[in-house]
Structures are given as structure tokens and as C-alpha cells.
Symmetry: C2
Subunit: 430 residues, 2 copies
Amino acid sequence: MDPRTGMPRVGMVGGGQLARMTQQAAIGLGQTLRVLAVSADDSAALVTPELEIGIHTDLVALRSFAQGCEVVTFDHEHVPTEHIRTLASEGHAMYPGADALEHAQDKGVMRRKLRAMGLPVPPFSVIPADANSELTHKATEEFAAAHGWPVVLKTCRGGYDGRGVWILKDSAHAAAVLTHLGSAGDLLVETLVPLDRELAAVVARSPFGQAAAWPVVETVQQQGICVEVIAPAQNLDDARAVAAQELALSIAASLGVVGVLAVELFEVAPSAQFPGGLVINELAMRPHNSGHWSIDGAITSQFEQHLRAVLDYPLGKTDAVFPVMVMGNVIGGSLDSPGAGMGMDERIHHLAARFPAVKVHLYGKSFRPGRKLGHVNVGGSDLAVTRRTAQLAALWLSDGVWGDGYAIHGPADDASDSPQHQRGTDRGAR
Amino acid sequence: MDPRTGMPRVGMVGGGQLARMTQQAAIGLGQTLRVLAVSADDSAALVTPELEIGIHTDLVALRSFAQGCEVVTFDHEHVPTEHIRTLASEGHAMYPGADALEHAQDKGVMRRKLRAMGLPVPPFSVIPADANSELTHKATEEFAAAHGWPVVLKTCRGGYDGRGVWILKDSAHAAAVLTHLGSAGDLLVETLVPLDRELAAVVARSPFGQAAAWPVVETVQQQGICVEVIAPAQNLDDARAVAAQELALSIAASLGVVGVLAVELFEVAPSAQFPGGLVINELAMRPHNSGHWSIDGAITSQFEQHLRAVLDYPLGKTDAVFPVMVMGNVIGGSLDSPGAGMGMDERIHHLAARFPAVKVHLYGKSFRPGRKLGHVNVGGSDLAVTRRTAQLAALWLSDGVWGDGYAIHGPADDASDSPQHQRGTDRGAR
Ligand SMILES: Nc1ncnc2c1ncn2[C@@H]1O[C@H](COP(=O)(O)OP(=O)(O)O)[C@@H](O)[C@H]1O
Ligand SMILES: Nc1ncnc2c1ncn2[C@@H]1O[C@H](COP(=O)(O)OP(=O)(O)O)[C@@H](O)[C@H]1O
Ligand SMILES: [Mg+2]
Ligand SMILES: [Mg+2]
């Protein structure tokens, strides 16, 4: 306990945006998030005074960090499970535990476990890493011979945002990718699922075993990276939505997850193979991009809920506050964009002038093309308007261009954007 | 600008809960609030790495703090205006400026200005401080002779939460209070307004002159201290609500306020003296207790809006998100309360179990009877249920007792409290 406040000290390993947003939630609960970051410039390192600098693979650094915390949790999946086990055996509360976390670290371990649980996963095969790449080629060919091309190849560990995922069209393509890959550790090969769209079921679970599910959302990816989330997923069959929540809750319970669990799903046409129309893609055991909408759109955000869960507090209500909310990721745009020279401060300024209801969340990161710099949340009642606003706002912050040619110094382009709430202003909106 | 992020550095003088909650909003905007606090244990000092320790009356400390900021603003009203003027003349952006802030620092200056503007204020008289307390007694008697007993006596400066306000019944009472007062600086004497209830109109204004108003709220005080806010004020005549907003916006414009301005109002039966049914009580030029509901209840919170305003960003939308939201202050209860021995961590635990939708905001302060330790926000559609929940929650966190005799280990007392969202939990709610 922090002697100054009498409140528990939660430590998060990793200084990324998830830790940053968890610190916002911690402040509300009367706490200060402790962060173990690699650098003092990390996203979360910039916003908490309770900072330790250290590498998440260094047991000594982890131990010294854990000693100052009542509970330790994670901003990412890269802490070695053996270190988590060691610290747990030394009496530190580490959530989620190593047995659960493995399933978010290793896609092969995850696929095997879910298949054993009888849950819907694509046909797959794990190809153990081998210096002799002949074996790897052969195993891929055999899988394709049994299931047909194309197949999906993934590194079991370390992939994210589509890095570590390849859709292999045919033998020649497979050979080219595998040769280029070198030794990437164990590989997963699976069928290409003919998906209609992607969904995510996000839940949280406490050590006590209480669990709570947010509404199921739709996630939209481009080149393997999530660009948009629609909460709740529109036109989703009620029974299927409940089934998705039940899937996630049963995984959380079976694996003994503590904290937030995001289950990425594919929605498919129901078939003999997938009668429920749902296929599980992957698991994340921490606040997840598909839950960022909850900061502005749910009674309890995933960041507050993660804190409640790891502290074994009773969980908060997960109801949505708006009929629909759209989250758009802000991803550093091209340096060739006409707006590339404009700083983020200026971009926010123009965004706020045009869309006074858009909620901006920036991660304090310097600009780099392709880097996740922040996100926007837009709540509303009309899907098309809300989605369009989120897309325009996210593109503007990403690239410094208005996707619809809006002129910066012109008037708002429709009545819904106008600052009608600004009653009696002595000057109009800029 | 912060070279690491390219974002502006806003500095807030004072390390109280207002700065603490402003830091939460700053994080979302990609910033880190810089705080000048008296002690490293101050509420906001606990949650920002950009901390300077110094006294707000020390020009040297203020200057060194201002040098690291693009804009300086205030968590309280205690910074001497001469220091603000000095730093402004040296080129620092200080918001609100000294000319405006005086009206929030000195109730006499405020009353005179508003009367000169033709705005509705109670009849009053300012009694200049004088070592010869005979003069003070005499002036009070004269005011009472003209307007009748009781009269309200206030210190012009330094009062808050009802400290520095006395309702004087008669000559004998006046004599007793004045004698006891000693030299308290200038005094304000005014009529006791026969108020029906108290309202607050909270607005924000930017240097550019853009302004935005939140819905008018009702504030409930006990012994001069705000205990509850209902947003929006219920059964408030539409025209009167607009008039209250217009009053606040015109004050903001006339005084050149930058940032949040809260105008405390009395609602009275319309009369020849107060035809609009509104009387202005006092002004605050910073985020204010009457706006705390906006964190969970408005599109843009007062803390984000204050940052936007002082940075001259376009302001955010101020619409309410729930039909009604009730804010309850958590004020350290009696040490004789049966729950006095229970720490805040345990209190939150039980609160969360009973009311999963209550939003808790704790200020990281150690317990002391009468100290503002935090607040709760409860959104809903039914006023009675929402208000009752907020009152029970605030009382529980304040005193460690349930006002309705709820047994901690028993079931929730009505269906609306049950954790119905916890679908498929492996164990029930504790
Ligand atoms: N078996 C599959 N069938 C079809 N699409 C897939 C398959 N596996 C992955 N994808 C696509 O690739 C994206 C990234 O794959 P995923 O395994 O989630 O990797 P990452 O860890 O990078 O998120 C998915 O969101 C989906 O769009
Ligand atoms: N003239 C008045 N008539 C009636 N009640 C008053 C008057 N002035 C103050 N009060 C009561 O006292 C409370 C505190 O007074 P205020 O001037 O706002 O002091 P503080 O600075 O402590 O908030 C008000 O909220 C109101 O309830
Ligand atoms: Mg994925
Ligand atoms: Mg007052």
C-alpha cells in the first residue's frame, strides 16, 4: 500500500499506450500506476511519477519492480513466462498468471488449447522450429495438400499488427516466404477463413472468478492492422452476440485469466464446420485496441476494469452509453502527404474546430509513418454519420489531410458539425 | 513545447484535486500537466512526473515554473494578482488574467462589478478593513437598519466551503461574530436572499473569445459546503436556464475570463427586485465542484475544456450524456462513525460490489474529518433512483456506513443493483 494514500500500488510492465491509459483510470481510483518502462520517453513514462526504467526480460529489474507493488500486470505480452512464474513463486501477485498468459504469447499453444476445449478454430498445424528448413517447407506443403491453397502462415510468437502473418497463395509463394523467414521460431499454418467480418468479444475476470463482458464489437483491419472499431457490432444476431460473449467468458474461466481478455473472432456463414458462424482468431490478455471505445463509450472503461480485476475489486458495469460509438486509430501517415509538415498540436486545433464532439486520445509519441499515435472516439445515434466523422477525424490526425476536401478556414460543412452549443459567444467558432 | 512530444506544456499552480483531474484530461490530449505544488504529497503531485515544489505566493518560484510552460493556469484563487501581472508583463501566458481573476478572489470587487454591469446581486455594502472595529460594527448595524436582520457577513477574500460566511441574526450576534473575527481584511455585508435552491452555470471561454456553456445544474449545500450536484437542474424553466447561461457567458466576456468560469446562483421567486428569479452569488475561474459531474456525464469534461480554453483550442461539445447525473461529494466523516476504522481501499471494494455503475473519483488524500476526499458520479434516467444511489455511495465512502442499513455481505437490495451484465460468470458477484 502507498503509505501516503492507503491505496494499493498496481505496477504495469511496459510503458506503452495501454499503460498510459491505465494511469488515467488509476488516478480516478485514487491510485498512481507504477510503470516499468524501457525508456523515460515511453508513452506511459511521460505521465506517471512512479516510473522505473528497466527491461521486461530482466528478472532482476522485474523483481525490484514487483517489490514496490501489490499487484503486477502487463502492457504487452513480452515478459517471459519463466520470470512470471519465478516472481509468483516468490509471493508476488502477477496477473494474468503465466499459465494463462502463454495462450496470448504463443498462437500454437493457444490453437491447441482451444481445439482441445472443443471451441471453433480453423484447421491448423504447428510446425516446430527447425534449422533444417526442408522440414518446414514439407510441413507447409502437406498442410496445403490436405486443406488446399491458400494457407495462412504465422509466427507463433512475437507477431502483432499483421507482422508475422502471411497469406500463401501457392507453393512458389510459400517457398519464397519461408526462405526469406529464416529462423522465426515455431510456425503456425492454418486455413484461410472465408470471413464476412471480424469481431471482438472483450471481457474481464477477477481472481475471485467474477467476470463481465462488454458488448461485442466489429473490428476493421487494413493490412493486418486494426483501423476501426464499431461498438456494438451492427446487425449482429442477438444469439450470436451472446455466443461470442459466452466463448470469451468460458476461455477466461478455463484459462484462469485475470484482467481483461480480448477474443478476436471471425464471423462466417454458418456451416457444418462452424455451425455458430464464429471462429476464434487470437487472444490478448490486457486492455486491447478493440476496447478503446470503452473510455468514452461504456460505464466502465477497459482500463478501469483491468485495474479492478487485478486488484480483485468487484467489476464495473459494462453497458454502452451511446447507441453507437466508432473508434478510429490514428496511425502516422506518409511523409509525402501534403499535411506531413503539420504538427499534432496544430492538427488537434483544426480537428476541434470542425468536430467539437470528437474525443481525442493521443499517446505522447513522436511521429513515425505507420506508428499508432492515438485514437479518436465518436459517439452518436446514426451509424453512417458517426462512422464518417470518426474516419475523417482519424485520417486528419494521421495524415494532416481532410479525406473529403474540407477547407480548413471554411465554415463547417453541415449543421451537425456547427457549434450550436456555443450560446451567446462573443465571437464565433474559429 | 515538449520536445519529446511536440505538445504544449500547460502548468497549473496548486496541487489540489482540480489539478489532479486536469492531469487525467491532459493525458488524453497527448500532454502531461506540469504542477507547482506546495508538497510532494499533494493530490496532483502524486500523479504527474512534471512536478515543481514551491509556494504560490513566491514570485521567484512562479517565474521559474512559468518558464517551463506555454501557458500557466490555476488550481485555486490564492496566487497574488500582482505576481500574475508581473509574469504576464514578462511575456508569460497567464490564464485567467489578473483583471479577471480579481473578481473570483475578492467578493467585494465581484459584487461591485456585477452591480455596475446591471446584473442581479443582493443589496450589499463593502466594509473596508479597519483596526478600529467600532467602524465595522457601525457599518453592519447601518446596513441592517436599512435592509433588516438577518444579514450575511462574508470575508471578501480567502473564504471557501462556507468558511468566512456568517448569517447574523441580530445586533448581539453581529457583535459577537465581529469581535471574534479580529482583522480579517475587507468584509462584505449583504441581505439574506430567500432562495428556493442554488444553481450553477458553468461555462468556458478561450482567448479567441469562443465560449461554451454546460447545462445549468442544481447544487445542494450543507453548512455552506457543496454536498451534491444534480445535472441538469430538474424542473428548471427553460427560459430561466438560458438566462442563467447567458448571465455566465456575459460575465465571462465582460471580464475577459479565459478557462472555466462557474457562476453560483440563487433561484428565487421572481420579484420586482429580481424579475428573472436569479441572483448571482459568487464566481470561480477554474474547474469547479459544480462541474465534476461532467467527467462522466458530458461529452467534454470541465477539465478537458479548461485545457482547451487556456490553450486557445476550439472548445468541445458540452452536451450531457445521461438524462440525469448526480454528483456526490465524499467528505471525510466523523472519527466516531462505526465505519471509521475501514480504509478507503476496503470502502471502494464494498461500494463496487453493491453499485457496479457508480463512478468513483478519489483525490489521493489521507483521511481527515471534513476533508473533501473525492466524489462519485452516477448517471441514470430516474432522478430518485440516481440521487439515492449517489447519496448512499457518497455517504458510504465518507463514513463507512450504509445510510439504509444495507448489510455488507447480503444480496443487493433491488434488481437495478444486481450484476446482470455479468453473463456466464464462473462465480457470482461477491
Ligand atoms: N486464418 C485466417 N483466415 C483469414 N484471415 C486471417 C487468418 N488469420 C489472420 N487473418 C487476418 O490477419 C489479421 C492478423 O492476424 P492475427 O493472427 O490476428 O495477427 P496479429 O497478431 O498480427 O494481430 C487478422 O485480423 C485477419 O484479418
Ligand atoms: N446572501 C446570501 N443569502 C442566502 N444564502 C447565502 C448568501 N450568501 C451565501 N449564502 C449561503 O452560503 C453558502 C456559501 O457562501 P459563498 O459566498 O458561496 O461562500 P464560499 O466562498 O464559502 O462558497 C452559499 O452557497 C449559500 O448557501
Ligand atoms: Mg490479431
Ligand atoms: Mg460558494
